[in-house]
C-alpha cells in the first residue's frame, strides 16, 4: 500500500503553516506504518487539541479527536476494550506535558501498549504562541516578551523516570531516523514515547529570530547528535537523538486479563 493510501486526501492541502514540521512527522509516521504492513482497520489514532492534534484528521485509520491533554486517557479506554488494535497518540508539547502531564506520566507508569508521539515545537502554535513546558529557559514567546524563566522538561528523562519501556528522540530534519524510530516504537509491546523536535516557523521561529523553516531544520541538524557521540562529549549542549530506553516489562492489558482470571476463578 502506498503512503498516500493512508491519507484522507479530501482534506488536503492540510491546515499547517508553510514549513511546519508536523507534516513531515505525518509523512514519517505513514512510512513507518507502511513498512510494518499495518491495515487501516487495525490502527486507532487518538489526539487531543492543538496544531499537532489535527494530525488525526488526515489519516484514514480509526481516529478520535478528543479533549485537550486527555488523548492518552481516551486511548487507554480504546486499548482496554480492543487490545488487538495498534494505538498511536500524537500530541503537542503543551498538550502532552502541561494539561496532559499527569495522563502522560501515569500512562507511562502503567506500561499500556501504545505509542505516544510528542511533536515538540516548543510553543502553543494554535492559540498564538504562548510558552509551553518545553519552550525552555531564555526563549521568547507571546506570553514571555522579556524571556521565559521556566526551565523546560526533558521529555526523554521524564518518560524514562515515569516508566516508559521505549523512549526515543529525533527531529523533523532526521526523517529517515524518525521513520525507523516510529516503526520500532509502534512494534514495541508496551508504552513507547517518541519525542520529535518540530519547527514552528510562524511562532517559535519568528519570536526567537530563528529564520525560515529551512534555517530551523538546519538548527536541528547542527544542534543534535547521536546518543553517546564524540561530539556530545566535546559539546554537552548538543541534544541527543536515538533510542534511550528499550526494555520489556509486563504490559497493562495482559496484566488486566490476569486480574480478570484471578477474580473469576475465585483465587487471589
Amino acid at each position: 500500500m502506498a503512503v498516500r493510501d493512508y491519507l484522507r486526501e479530501r482534506f488536503f492541502p492540510h491546515m499547517w503553516c508553510p514549513g511546519c514540521g508536523h507534516g513531515t512527522i505525518l509523512g514519517a509516521l505513514l512510512r513507518a506504518v507502511e513498512s510494518l504492513g499495518l491495515k487501516k482497520s487495525e490502527m486507532v489514532m487518538v489526539s487531543g487539541i492543538g496544531c499537532s492534534s489535527r494530525i488525526s484528521g488526515y489519516v484514514d485509520f480509526h481516529t478520535l479527536h478528543t479533549l485537550h491533554g486527555r488523548a492518552l486517557a481516551f486511548a487507554t479506554g480504546v486499548k482496554l476494550s480492543r487490545p488487538e488494535v495498534k494505538l498511536m497518540v500524537p500530541m503537542g508539547d503543551g498538550d502532552a506535558l502541561a494539561i496532559g502531564g499527569n495522563h502522560f506520566i501515569h500512562a507511562a507508569r502503567r506500561n499500556i501498549d501504545m505509542t505516544a508521539i510528542v511533536m515538540n515545537n516548543r510553543i502553543y502554535g494554535m492559540t498564538g504562541g504562548q510558552y509551553s513546558p518545553l519552550t525552555g529557559y531564555g526563549a521568547l514567546a507571546t506570553t514571555a516578551p522579556y524571556r521565559n524563566i521556566d526551565h523546560g522538561f526533558d521529555v526523554v528523562t521524564l518518560a524514562s523516570a515515569a516508566g516508559a519501556t521505549f523512549v526515543a528522540r529525533t527531529t523533523a530534519y532526521h526523517v529517515q531516523q524518525a521513520k525507523d524510530i516510529l516503526q520500532k516504537a509502534i512494534a514495541h509491546k508496551g508504552f513507547s514515547v517518541v519525542e520529535i523536535l518540530s519547527q514552528c516557523p510562524t511562532y517559535f521561529g519568528r519570536k526567537n529570530r530563528m529564520g525560515s523553516a529551512v534555517d530551523m531544520l538546519r538548527w536541528f541538524k547542527e544542534n543534535t547528535t547521536k546518543i553517546g557521540s564524540k561530539a556530545k562529549a566535546e559539546n554537552p549542549d548538543l541534544i541527543e537523538r536515538g533510542i534511550f530506553v528499550e526494555k520489556q516489562l509486563p504490559e497493562y492489558c495482559s496484566e488486566y486479563d490476569k486480574v480478570l482470571e484471578r477474580a473469576q476463578s475465585g483465587g487471589s
Binding site: V3, H14, W16, C17, T24, S212, V214
Partner: protein, 68 residues
C-alpha cells in the same frame, strides 16, 4: 541492488505551500520554486532519486517515481 533511476517527480501543486525545504536540502539542486511559489523539478538529469525531497516535504506534496 541497482541504483534507482528517476522516472518523474510527481508534485501535487495544490498541496505545495512553497516553503522551500525540498529545494534547500536536495543534494543535487534539482528543484526550484516557480513564479507561483510552487516547487518544480527543473534539472531532472541531476536527480539521484534519493527521495530527500519526498521525505522532508511537510505538505506531502512530492513523490519521486523511479523506473521499475
Amino acid at each position: 541492488m541497482a541504483k534507482p533511476k528517476l522516472k518523474e517527480h510527481h508534485i501535487e501543486r495544490e498541496w505545495c505551500k512553497g516553503c522551500g525545504i525540498c529545494i534547500e536540502f536536495c543534494p543535487k539542486n534539482v528543484l526550484e520554486l516557480d513564479e507561483k511559489d510552487k516547487a518544480v523539478a527543473v534539472r531532472l538529469e541531476d536527480c539521484i532519486a534519493c527521495r530527500m525531497c519526498e521525505l522532508r516535504c511537510p505538505d506531502l506534496a512530492i513523490e519521486v517515481i523511479v523506473q521499475e
